[in-house]
Symmetry: D2
Subunit: 247 residues, 4 copies
């Protein structure tokens, strides 16, 4: 029987996590290892300044007082007996598209799994509250079954963004687009009248290039992007070699 | 005169930050915006759960009660009048090589600058304490001058790792290698005898492939890697399109 | 119908809180406002560095991303329409005796209620895991009914410590004793071999003076201590006036 | 030579701490053990969820990544060889008067010292920014000398509040008054339009009773209050015994 590790960044009590667990149930034994509270936007953070506590709060269900990456590290290194057949992270309450995926705890958990050679997928609901996870749950199972049956490209994870609701226009295999934000710093005051800056809000400057994850979701499609661990700009290497005369 | 934004993840009081500021001084006006305390291994974390406080603690010197990424967002969006000509993040006390760069606050700050089209570089001292920043300071100035004089490949930052001490074997333009860790979870107990897990320590499984950052530093060279924002596995797109029949 | 505000410092998911809610149910309408996670040993901390979030997670059930004191301040200032007839904080998983009560979030929540003239009681289970809350639940209801029926001394709260299990030797009205700890700092190492100090553990130096809370619990009694807001050493005032010639 | 332990809750970089150190210098050897960042309003919090790091950052100067109480516990248990002759906590940037002292990290550090039988004093500047510490520094030395020369009442610390500036009306030995706040919750919104509550601001409802710390400072006097560890309402014990028929 397949063993599937499930984690997220919205924390153990998030609805998306419960939907994901139920959706994947028919595919094997599901082990949940998730942060004990909301960890949105923690990115690939690893907690190294303090020791972590693992709590078993139910059958095949654990919490960690840390980040999604901490959860994956401890699940693979301590909690699970062997390597799982699949890791699914999500379902995130909100999209993970374009440049934003580098901030994403959801995607980072899948990246961590990939580093340990566990086939990994991140699933996000590309909508706004109130969230309807119906479609995202179904597609998570479908994609998970596909990954279990086939093989992912080397050192590569799947980043899937699903429109909210029960309908979609189809599935598109996409590349990561740009997703910049305008006016994403709000000024506020503390009770003593001192200025404070709250990052968030603003409006995304949509990337309308063809083939991007941003565009696919905007057009009502499910976006499936293969994301790799290697961040090298390989053509940049030759460029720098030729023009910078450093070596 | 060039304006150079300097940040780091070890916090405003770190020696590496002071060395970097002094080293870059001849190149222009240096503005430091750094976390008010150590933020190692926070990765590309963005603080969105609370408003942030910016303190001006000296001429062209600011602290933020947040992460390196928070510092860059606030520097570019609020503190600086215009876009700086260069962003340099570091000098990190320890290497940022291979897979580890995805956890790195130092590299993430440079990634954030790149998202905003600011030419950006991360500098790390690839050694162990006691740290000697002499060489890293000199090379930071040399590389910064090079970037100011020329142009970086599109959406690409420089990740430089410098051996500690005053000598090196030369400079190598490298690709990101693998850097896995063995036994990187230490078990300890809290005062009440409950098991805790501390991530850290262990031994790196060195990547000895040619052309990697890991190998270059191991051989005593300065490693210079062009890192891109785009995480897409482009060849993976065709593979999935052809074999998975999803679309 | 009486309105009873219930809070604690072990967080919304703690068993002691659930027992307390059920036990008090027959006495009136119970409104729970508790921290969203464990806040043990936060003492009378008030969160003023960031704004707090109140979540309604069920009927008459709220969480705050802050301390027990934050919960009381927001319950009285925002969540409840009028002043409650009683505040009960607990049931804490462990004793709050002697000097230790000054660290206690459980007692501090009751202190905060007292400041706002709400009759308040802190309840702690003076035992060790596994905890049996049976007796503590029953006595909480009994004491709560007593406070609702009568009147507490001015600016005074009740600190009750109940032995674990289903039996006790009787109830004693006590004074706060001393409770010092020996060897309460444990040395440990982080994964990089650096020394760290973990406060906790050690052995309590029991206060065997008559009439103290420490002694009562040690002898198997329920301890009920009236605690006041006024921290002044009134006889100390005359002493200093006479001998220090400051005024 | 006397050994004087100095700590605070505004953190190692606070001006009030530097003034205090310089002011006390003539009286003996000063050892500073302070939090590495601002810890205002942490009250008597003790950090027991993670191990703490002590850094020696200069001669007789240490930081702890924790609270003022953590600093005192580690100073007395690990850093200092013997018991110091005096502990002075401050100079706090703002008053610690009336009920508010139960939230105060500054006063709690002095309370912790008193628990370990170290003569202890908390000093606060009862004014608003910009702070002038001149007078507070002088009076700290004067009071410290007095405490070193004489003896404090048993289990009792001194809470001193000094008006800002260079003049005062005299010194008054006071009792702790009431200090309630009106409108001390500010409503704000996060960037996504969700309501948040920020505790702080508001206006203090002054206690105009004779002999209180609140009144003394309001009238321009230095307030010196003896504060005791024992929180018991002793007359409340007889009241409850007589009227509640519990025992």
């Amino acid at each position: 029987m397949s063993i599937i590790l499930v984690t997220n960044d919205d924390g153990i009590h998030a609805e998306g996590l419960q939907v994901l667990r139920r959706s994947l149930q028919p595919l094997g034994r599901i082990v949940v290892v998730a942060p004990d509270r909301d960890n949105s936007a923690v990115s690939h953070s690893l907690t190294m300044t303090r020791p972590l506590q693992v709590r078993r709060i139910g059958e095949d269900t654990y919490t960690v007082d840390g980040t999604p990456t901490d959860c994956v590290v401890l699940a693979l290194g301590r909690i699970l007996e062997g390597r799982p057949d699949l890791l699914v992270s999500g379902i995130n309450a909100g999209p993970n598209l374009g440049d934003d995926i580098s901030y994403s705890g959801t995607v980072s958990a899948a990246m961590e799994g990939t580093m340990y050679s566990v086939p990994s997928m991140a699933v996000s609901l590309a909508g706004e509250p109130p969230f309807d996870y119906t479609l995202a749950g179904e597609l998570s199972r479908k994609m998970a079954a596909k990954i279990l049956d086939t093989v992912l490209p080397h050192n590569t994870l799947i980043n899937m963004n699903v429109p909210t609701g029960s309908k979609h226009q189809g599935i598109r295999i996409t590349r990561q687009g740009r997703r910049l934000w305008e006016n994403a710093i709000q000024e506020t005051e503390d009770p003593w009248g001192r200025k404070r800056y709250w990052i968030g809000g603003g409006t995304p400057v949509k990337d309308s290039s063809e083939d991007t994850d941003v565009k696919a979701v905007h057009d009502g499609y499910v976006s499936v992007t293969p994301i790799q661990l290697d961040l090298t700009n390989h053509s940049g290497i030759s460029h720098i070699r030729k023009n910078w005369s450093l070596e």
